[in-house]
């Protein structure tokens, strides 16, 4: 096999992908429309950082498009997308934090828009902050996204057998925190 035969084939294959973007692009746009809000909510609530959620969501979709098409069905594609996002989150937590103050976006220093975020943050935010990242992931996938233990196992890479126990403990802990928070709220005028 000569180089002349290899190179045009590879480039031709690539050019084919670029030449027919409208259909795939539209298909992706539909999938994005249906899945982006749920993915952002997952990333934002689990990471507790909306700016990070923006970045990771974009990266998740770019990696998703590079790895898989929608031929396997929307449910499988969605699960795969969450798996990519979960791995990116894990990678972010493993990385040492070296952010300087110049790297922090301006919005961070602005007063938070309490009107739009107060409700959900007041209910779940403080309790989520006290949970471990892995527990936050498990709880969100189970109770916000409604995934089964097997699906959570596929997304997180954890053993299916251990998810039941981990989830039970995490749920018990967050329920206690929510009750305590509720009691504190009632005591305050």
């Amino acid at each position: 096999m000569s180089w002349e035969s290899v190179i045009p084939n590879v480039l031709a294959g690539d050019a084919k992908a670029v030449a027919c973007p409208p259909m795939e692009s539209e298909e992706f746009a539909g999938f994005y429309e249906r899945s982006a809000r749920a993915l952002w909510a997952y990333l934002a609530r689990v990471s507790t950082d909306p700016a990070l959620a923006d970045d990771l969501m974009q990266e998740s979709y770019v990696r998703f498009l590079g790895a898989r098409r929608l031929e396997e069905g929307e449910v499988a594609a969605r699960r795969y997308l969450f798996r990519i996002a979960t791995n990116l989150l894990r990678g972010h937590w493993r990385r040492p934090r070296q952010a300087s103050i110049e790297e922090i976006p301006e919005e961070f220093f602005e007063a938070p828009d309490e009107s739009s975020q107060a409700d959900s943050r007041a209910v779940l935010g403080p309790a989520m902050m006290l949970m471990r990242p892995r527990d936050r992931q498990l709880l969100w996938l189970a109770y916000a996204e409604g995934h089964s233990h097997r699906e959570i196992s596929e997304i997180t890479g954890l053993a299916s057998a251990s998810i039941r126990l981990l989830l039970f403990r995490a749920r018990h802990k967050i329920a206690r925190l929510l009750r305590e928070q509720d009691l504190n709220d009632r005591r305050q005028p």
Partner: protein
């Protein structure tokens, strides 16, 4: 109630998933959830997470899907080019290694012998009819190697230019 759950937990979870809790569920099950710690926790946590999901989804500032699509295409294209470049680079390294080994072997084999093969260098100007230019050359410089090195340098330069244009075109 078992160690990690309640026998009716699945029932409650199903109603929560279908959105039938609490209004479309039997009063008896609601009373059970009020008394059972496991089912009570399930109802509390599910409700909080469902509410948070709806609110967080509405806060999302979504980018248009088009740029993401093209960014992914660009990344795929770069990955394809990288896949092509890897074997080419390997072939180049292999060719260079073989050339160097052959040259080293040749020099080692000729090290002990008389250097008659160097006569080729001396005959090179004659073969190229450079005698016409010779009159201006310094007479004290008896070896003709001074001409060989610039020729080799020009050849190397031209090769570099050709390789550069070839890679640019690719």
């Amino acid at each position: 109630m078992t160690l990690f759950g309640c026998a009716r937990e699945k029932e409650v979870a199903e109603l929560l998933k279908l959105g039938q809790w609490p209004h479309a569920c039997p009063a008896e099950l609601r009373a059970h959830a009020g008394a059972c710690r496991v089912c009570g926790e399930l109802v509390l946590v599910s409700g909080a997470f469902q509410k948070a999901r709806v609110e967080a989804g509405s806060q999302a500032r979504l980018e248009a899907p088009g740029p993401l699509w093209w960014r992914a295409q660009l990344r795929r294209r770069n990955a394809a080019i990288e896949r092509i470049r890897k074997p080419v680079l390997g072939a180049e390294i292999f060719a260079l290694t073989v050339t160097l080994l052959v040259a080293a072997g040749f020099l080692v084999s000729q090290a002990g012998k008389d250097h008659g093969w160097l006569a080729w260098f001396e005959d090179l100007p004659k073969a190229l009819h450079f005698e016409a230019l010779w009159s201006t050359a310094p007479a004290s410089f008896d070896s003709n190697l001074w001409l060989v090195f610039p020729v080799l340098a020009i050849l190397a330069l031209l090769s570099g230019v050709v390789v550069y244009f070839a890679s640019e075109k690719q």
